[in-house]
Symmetry: C2
Subunit: 249 residues, 2 copies
DNA sequence: AGCCTAGGGATTGTTCAACAATCCTGCAAG
DNA sequence: CTTGCAGGATTGTTGAACAATCCCTAGGCT
């Protein structure tokens, strides 16, 4: 602000990078750090749906106070990764078919709208904006070659998160983050992640190529069908699981 | 699940009503009660955008501990009604034109999709589902006759909340609640609420009549234009305010 | 004068220990 | 088999305390 100079833009960019690093390390400290650890444990399956998170237990493991831990719980609660039950504690939520349908309905609405919206502002959209999507596709392909299917799922989800990011809407980004986090909860009840994720590596690349060719309308159309197929895949896996192991409700 | 009976549906409905009442009275107690009070203060304008909420000050007024108050802050933070600034406290957010555009983009996407989606499940949608919308319109008309324009704004927003409710999507409901809460923050920077809300009383009734006539496609089309107009109205009022009182940034 | 730097005071971030309220479990009684 | 009642465990909430950080002002420097 105070130092006006010719290299302003260069310096500001540099400062911003440092600031981002500092913010990443510093952050709201304890509460968010604890939330980060728990978030990973949940999304990676260490804490399965239905599990209860005991306060005293976690205060010892995470080495934070009960109050701070509760703040971490609140953070994750509003990401949809935990649910509070009054006087009973926090639990990893158990989603059902109805949630699958709900989640995919929103995914379709948001993602398809983002792609359709790109057509109207095509000129101002530099090609470099597609680079994150490109990286995600390559990461997914590499993970597939290494037979690391959960990693494929993660990369595919990042692809969609970055796709939403093209809309430059902070609220859409936040909503999508929440939706995908909930979706990840669903993946853990599925026995065969390969069948679930494999087809979409190629389809993601297909979407990316359509975007690069600026064929937005066809991208939107393909994406719509893509999401319908993905929903059916999860519902099928879900139904299969439900038959083998009847609902505990 | 376990007790099969002929009156099952009747009894379940009754039990659900009681359960809802209990939940309303009991709740998470202190933290959520404090959050309720603060929420009203913010949405009704007692706490204007930019205001800081002092912890010690509010602990005395709300008669809760600092830790509990902080939990209330977290709740409101994730509704978009407060923002945390590390080591500086919580503030009522100040939204700008960019936020208006962002909010309305999402409103259009969600609401229009809900209406379009109604066409596909028209048979299973009893007419009674439209009653809440009907009530909202009448409340708005009554408030307008009494010159209570903020109340008109509230009723109009409930109309849209109930409209989204027709989709039976808990996540859409939650998102809409958040979006409308943020929108309410914007209303407080507008000098003349009458011009802002009055036109939409009649337009809401128009939408309702189209819905009752099951003309979903035209409803969606009208709603789209409706939201574009509303966005323009707020942007205009915003620009007007910006000219009289340059940004404090 | 203008700018950088240091110190004081206030506010937030976090911890700890304690108590009240609620839930779950198991067991006894009808 | 259901109902009612301890007992123990867990959560909800409080209050005080300390550390860390920010804001503002005062003072020294060029």
């Amino acid at each position: 602000m105070t130092t006006g100079g010719a290299e302003e833009t260069g310096r500001q960019a540099w400062l911003r990078t440092v600031a981002a690093d500092v913010a990443r390390l510093d952050r709201s400290s304890s509460a968010e750090r604890a939330a980060d650890i728990l978030r990973r444990s949940i999304t990676e399956g260490a804490l399965p749906p239905g599990a209860q998170l005991s306060e005293v237990e976690l205060t010892e493991v995470l080495e934070v106070s009960r109050n701070t831990l509760r703040e971490a719980f609140r953070l994750l609660t509003h990401e949809g990764l935990l649910v509070y039950k009054l006087h009973r504690g926090v639990f990893v939520p158990e989603l059902d078919e109805h949630d699958v349908i709900d989640l995919y309905r929103l995914r379709r609405v948001l993602e398809v709208d983002v792609v359709r919206g790109l057509a109207e502002r095509d000129p101002e959209l530099p090609a470099s904006r597609l680079e994150p999507l490109h990286d995600d596709v390559e990461v997914a392909e590499a993970a597939a070659r290494a037979d690391r299917w959960p990693a494929v799922g993660t990369a595919n989800m990042r692809f969609h998160q970055h796709l939403i990011g093209l809309a430059d809407s902070s609220r859409m980004d936040a909503m999508t983050g929440r939706l995908l986090a909930e979706l990840r909860l669903l993946f853990h009840v599925i026995a065969t992640p390969r069948e679930l994720h494999e087809p979409y590596i190629e389809r993601n690349r297909g979407l990316l190529e359509l975007l690069e060719a600026r064929k937005y309308e066809q991208t939107a159309s393909d994406l719509h069908q893509y999401l319908l197929d993905s929903e059916q895949g999860i519902l099928a896996a879900f139904l299969d699981k439900g038959l083998r192991q009847p609902a505990a409700t």
